[in-house]
């Protein structure tokens, strides 16, 4: 009977599928990594892959697995659950400060990490500062041929689609500076005032988005003005977006290499960090994306013209401020809930 044949066929299919299931287990460990590095994805991580990950594998034979999603919360959750998969993590100053505060990191082994070119202020017990970046104002040249100022970004009379960063840090600083707060008086941050400033243009915001989202929105023409990391905005322009940016009232910050407490490949992690902070690698990253190397020897390897697009270039630095990670270390716990409530209203 036909139906009997069909039953047998179905049974055979079930058995086949079941055997696939069991054989699946053998494939599970195919991706065993020798060192795992967590970063931010997108254009920045592509640059890191070219400047650090691939050359490291070539030089040592150690496989580098790049992953995304770095952030204070993820590191905290990972270390507290004890299920640690990340070895090296790239962290912003405020994330770094809070990770250190909560004891989520292990000390950098400075007998392995040799980077004399990196100033002492960037060689902390739990992390090595490796690049500087700036949160800058950018605009569409089609919409604003004459450019805009930070004050105009927060002026509701200037019509346009805007995007801001989903994190409270940088954005609160940007808003206060645009509202006329002097750099010297910026900290401690007047959060109430900042939220009022942002509230003025909230109905013209398409939303609060992450760095790589901002780049995508710019490239797709979804927004007319944005605050975003200088490297990604530069990358969007390189990819064809008719945009410009300025260093006025920018907020610059340091990106750190840290190693999670209980990292499965801690020794390799230190070796990787040592490789990544060497002058040649640091210079290569800057060639890929204009973030400033912390290693002073790397600057010597770079075309002097490149230096002009870095946050550390004196003329750029003079226009903006440096993020105070100590303030965020002390205040993130209280500001974060307020910020979260603010942005969803």
């Amino acid at each position: 009977m036909t139906s009997n044949k069909l039953h047998k066929g179905l049974l055979a299919a079930l058995i086949t599928a079941a055997s696939i299931t069991f054989s699946a287990q053998f494939a599970a460990n195919a991706y065993a990594a020798d060192v795992v590095v967590a970063s931010y994805g997108g254009a920045f991580q592509d640059a890191q892959t070219k400047a650090y990950f691939e050359p490291y594998t070539k030089a040592t034979g150690t496989k580098v697995t790049g992953t995304t999603g770095t952030g204070y919360a993820k590191v905290k959750a990972m270390v507290e659950s004890g299920n640690i998969t990340w070895d090296v993590v790239s962290a912003e100053s405020s994330a770094f400060a809070n990770e250190t505060k909560d004891g989520l990191l292990q000390p950098i082994n400075y007998s392995v990490v040799k980077a004399d070119g990196i100033p002492a202020e960037f060689r902390k017990e739990y992390g090595v500062g490796y690049i500087s970046f700036g949160q800058v104002l950018a605009w569409s040249k089609d919409k604003f041929p004459n450019g805009i100022t930070p004050a105009q970004f927060f002026d509701p009379k200037v019509k346009g689609r805007r995007v801001l960063t989903s994190d409270p840090y940088f954005t609160i600083e940007n808003a206060l500076l645009a509202d006329g707060v002097k750099a010297a008086n910026l900290y401690p941050l007047d959060v109430d005032r900042a939220l009022k400033v942002i509230d003025r243009i909230k109905d013209q915001l398409i939303g609060f988005k992450g760095g790589s989202d901002t780049q995508a929105l710019i490239q797709q023409g979804e927004v007319d003005m944005a605050f975003g990391p200088n490297g990604r905005i530069n990358d969007a322009i390189k990819a064809g977006a008719n945009w410009a940016y300025s260093w006025e009232d920018s907020v610059s910050d340091i990106e750190w290499w840290v190693v999670t407490k209980g990292a499965p490949h801690a020794e390799e992690a230190m070796k990787f960090i040592n490789f990544a902070v060497q002058p040649e690698q640091q210079a290569e990253l800057t060639r890929q994306i204009p973030y400033g190397p912390t290693n002073v020897d790397a600057l010597k390897l770079l075309d002097p013209a490149v230096a002009k697009s870095l946050p550390s270039y004196p003329e750029n630095a003079a226009l903006g401020v440096v993020l105070n990670s100590q303030w965020w270390h002390d205040n993130l716990q209280t500001v974060k809930p307020r910020w979260d409530s603010f942005i969803i209203q």
Partner: protein, 587 residues
């Protein structure tokens, strides 16, 4: 007495797998959350949620968007499901494909495709600008209609699947009979078809409502902070807040809200099914049925059809055009995000822009040359196959275990369907916490188990709806002819269940393929499923690479579906033949 007890034991054995699965893979993981949500300063936590205008707004937004999306999905899908259930041959194949094909595309990609349709430089704005209808691009993205549109689009296939299994059982001549008795179309539909289809409508509405309530991808990509939904907040809390306890409390809030709304929806469904419930009818003897039937329809004096004196020609013409017009509109709506994928995946641009500035195959070269994409596809295939087998086996055993009479049917079904009432985000969080303790995080087994738990209730609903529409007298007849339970199952129940099982298997495979929440939580570095890879791709790189991946998948899976449908259609013909020749085949 003794025989009864024996049957109970058999039932328990049949039900053992599902309850073991639910206990270890569902209840225990959730149990890992509950102490989190209610541990420590629980009162303060829940007060914070319910006293804060913000969270109340988000809860209301979530319910509102979910209800809007569910209602729209039902309205939009019901005619399609009806037409599909009536269709035969090529039309059935085409309509089936219309439903199946969008299902094969990841929700992530379909959401992504809306960016290329609704964006400032997207399809809609480009068309309107070219036609000169607008001078400035319309702000379509980052609004509530955009989110609802994407949710409806994502929900249509599931709704049609849920409806069609039940609608197919309705004898179309019943409408003819109603018409003969003088019922107007509206009365015939709402008095007959809707109550007969109520099991399907109910399961469809519940599935869609809970799916939309737990979704965070559409509001995240297409909405702004004003369309923020609860699931998004949970995901944000987990990813950036690290306040696991608060995330757990939000999860509890979401589940409770969902349960309340689902109960309300169920009572509405009960109202509609007051005189006919295909789910319960087999439990009562035919005589009882007659007594239970609502004779309201018979008591009402039948109005004679009025003569059509107002524009009969126009009416007839419009009636003739309704179906093709509806089919055209719904086809465009369903297929547009998929069709857009093709030009976009051949785009030479780095982002999704419509129309593409130029064409190239570089994205296809990139993914085919990438071992990561290939291995992610294989991983998803393995996980999907395993989850599908586990779901089907468990669903068959559960349906048989419940049988037709089961003293605690209501409670037992509620337990079995419990995973549906827990948002995937919350379950994923619980699974992460619990699986981490036994080393199942970042393994294929862990994801298979999580997928089985998440997908099993959907498969069960479909299989049980099919089972409840099987005439119980068939089993009794074969038993009285001397067949043992196994033989009854093999020769009567199982063949009749097959359509439901096939639909269930398709659902399980596709849902597992589509499932991104549990995959994102439970996979990390060793195991990367296709949705996770797509999620990473879309989140961190707005390249047409993801569109190219799904365009390729679309091609391959279309082929599989066509082959599958040919087999199913061929089988139906065979089944008819077998039935006709059955008397001869019997010894």
């Amino acid at each position: 007495m003794r025989r009864n007890r024996l049957i109970e034991w058999q039932r328990l054995l049949l039900l053992a797998p599902v309850f073991l699965l639910l206990l270890f893979a569902f209840a225990l993981p959730l149990f890992a959350i509950v102490p989190e949500a209610f541990g420590g300063d629980a009162v303060g936590r829940f007060l914070l949620i319910f006293q804060s205008v913000v969270y109340r707004t988000v809860i209301w937004t979530t319910v509102r968007i979910s209800l809007e999306a569910t209602a729209l999905t039902l309205i939009v899908s019901f005619p399609l499901a009806w037409l599909l259930s009536r269709a035969t041959g090529a039309k059935a194949l085409l309509l089936g494909l219309l439903v199946l094909v969008p299902f094969l595309t990841s929700v992530l990609v379909r959401t992504f495709a809306w960016l290329a349709i609704l964006g400032q430089r997207g399809l809609v704005n480009a068309t309107l600008l070219t036609l000169g209808l607008i001078s400035e691009p319309l702000p379509l993205l980052f609004s509530e209609p955009a989110v609802v549109l994407a949710l409806v689009h994502a929900s249509i296939p599931m709704m049609v699947f849920a409806l069609v299994t039940v609608l197919r059982r309705i004898d179309g001549r019943i409408l003819l009979a109603a018409h003969t008795l003088g019922a107007k179309p509206v009365r015939a539909w709402f008095g007959i078809v809707v109550p007969l289809a109520i099991r399907g409508i109910q399961s469809g509405v519940i599935i869609i409502f809970l799916f939309t309530m737990a979704s965070f991808i559409a509001p995240a990509f297409l909405g702004n902070q004003r369309q923020q939904m609860l699931a998004q907040m949970i995901q944000a809390q987990i990813e950036t807040g690290a306040d696991w306890r608060f995330a757990a409390a939000l999860g509890v809030t979401l589940s409770v809200t969902a349960t309340i709304v689902v109960l309300a929806l169920s009572s509405v469904a009960r109202y509609f099914s007051r005189w006919q419930n295909p789910g319960l009818s087999p439990t009562t003897a035919p005589q009882q049925l007659v007594q239970q039937a609502d004779r309201e329809i018979l008591r009402t004096s039948v109005a004679l059809p009025r003569s059509h004196f107002h524009l009969p020609a126009l009416r007839r013409l419009s009636a003739r055009w309704v179906e093709p017009a509806y089919l055209a509109v719904i086809s465009i709506f369903i297929l547009l995000p998929l069709i857009v994928l093709f030009p976009v995946s051949f785009s030479s641009a780095d982002v999704l822009i419509f129309p593409p500035p130029g064409y190239s195959v570089r994205w296809f070269e990139k993914i085919l040359g990438s071992p990561e994409w290939v291995s992610a596809a294989l991983t998803s295939l393995r996980i999907g196959a395993a989850a599908c087998v586990l779901c089907l086996a468990t669903a068959i055993l559960t349906v048989l275990g419940f049988g037709r009479h089961f003293r605690f049917q209501g409670a037992a079904e509620a337990i079995v369907l419990a995973p549906l009432s827990v948002p995937a985000v919350v379950f994923a969080l619980g699974a992460y916490l619990a699986f981490a303790r036994v080393g199942l995080v970042d393994t294929e087994t862990g994801i298979v188990v999580a997928h089985t738990v998440l997908i099993f209730p959907v498969v069960y609903l479909v299989v049980s709806a099919t089972y409840s529409s099987i005439d119980p007298w068939l089993s009794l007849a074969s038993a009285s002819l001397g067949a043992n339970p196994w033989r009854i199952f093999r020769t009567v129940t199982f063949p009749l269940l097959l359509p439901g099982l096939a639909v269930g298997a398709l659902l399980a495979m596709l849902l597992s393929f589509d499932e991104s929440v549990a995959s994102i939580f439970l996979s990390d570095l060793s195991v990367k499923t296709l949705p996770r890879k797509l999620w990473e791709g879309i989140r961190f790189n707005t390249s047409p690479e993801s569109a190219a991946v799904s365009a390729m998948l679309l091609g391959v899976t279309c082929l599989v579906v066509i082959v599958g449908m040919v087999v199913v259609l061929g089988r139906r013909k065979n089944a008819l033949l077998t039935l006709q020749s059955a008397p001869e085949a019997l010894p």
